[in-house]
């Protein structure tokens, strides 16, 4: 075997070894065929063509793998985002449910025991419907902060919303006086 053919064969063999797993059979096919190419320089041209094919295939494979990896990350991020949003909404809904339960309990007590005069005591309303649920929520949010932060944020956001509502209510109340 001549020097040029030997070098050509070695080049294709290295490229085939470094090339992608997919298409390795084709790299082997080109390498095998090189042995049958007539003429030393023709063998070298054959080898250069083969290397180009392997390199192009490697590039395509790399782009394909990168694309697949990017799609996987995108899907993961979307899943994570969906999960976080769900927890945030759950936290807000939980606070709303707690306030509604407190309100229902207060209403039932007022209806069942009218002699207590709860209907007239505005501070009882604020204490039972706003302050106690807000304290429970704040304690819950503090406990959840390290475990399930989106849930804690949802709770805090709704506590802030309720607090803003109370502030506005009193501002309106005192402005009327």
């Amino acid at each position: 075997m001549g020097l040029v053919r030997s070098a050509a064969r070695r080049l294709v063999a290295v490229a085939a070894r470094l090339g992608p797993e997919r298409g390795r059979e084709w790299a082997r096919a080109m390498l095998a065929e090189l042995e049958f190419v007539e003429g030393e320089w023709e063998a070298l041209w054959w080898a250069l063509g083969s290397i180009t094919v392997i390199a192009r295939r490697s590039g395509q494979e790399w782009v394909r793998l990168c694309g697949a990896e990017m799609r996987r990350w995108e899907r993961l991020a979307m899943d994570q985002m969906g999960k976080k949003t769900g927890l945030l909404v759950a936290g807000a809904l939980g606070t709303a449910v707690l306030v509604m339960i407190a309100f229902a309990l207060l209403y039932l007590t007022a209806v069942t025991f009218p002699q207590l005069g709860i209907e007239q005591a505005e501070w009882t309303h604020i204490l039972v419907v706003i302050v106690i649920p807000a304290i429970i929520c704040l304690c819950g949010a503090a406990w959840l902060w390290r475990r399930k932060r989106p849930l804690a944020v949802g709770i805090l956001l709704s506590v802030v919303a309720v607090g803003t509502h109370v502030v506005l209510h009193f501002a309106h109340h005192f402005a009327r006086r």
């Binding site: 298409g23 059979e25 084709w26 082997r28 096919a29 080109m30 390498l31 095998a32 065929e33 042995e35 049958f36 190419v37 041209w45 054959w46 250069l48 063509g49 083969s50 180009t52 094919v53 192009r56 295939r57």
Partner: protein, 102 residues
């Protein structure tokens, strides 16, 4: 998805159509079509991916490597016939257009 019919692809298809049942070597097709390995093999790969081409390894004489061989599948033969008709129709259309313009 079928194959894009570039002039080089048509040359390869023509090479297979001469004796469609015969298994062929890469170098043989290269010599027949005048295409270099860098052009020929991507076409063969695409044909195989689209199941127009079947491949096999043939163990050669002792001391020589096994060779990769190629043959058109029934789908491949159908595709070659259809593409030939399409090319012929295109050719006739071009001639008719030339006559109409002339």
């Amino acid at each position: 998805m079928k194959l894009r019919l570039s002039p080089q692809t048509l040359l390869v298809l023509e090479a297979f159509l001469e004796e469609s049942a015969v298994w062929r070597y890469g170098y043989e097709i290269s010599r027949g079509s005048g295409l270099k390995s860098g052009t020929l093999y991507p076409i063969l790969m695409r044909m195989e991916e689209r199941q127009l081409l079947e491949t096999k390894w043939e163990s050669g004489e002792p001391g020589r490597p096994a060779r990769h061989m190629y043959r058109l599948t029934p789908d491949g033969m159908q595709f070659v016939r259809e593409s030939r008709h399409a090319q012929a129709a295109k050719g006739l259309g071009a001639v008719a257009l030339g006559e109409a313009q002339g």
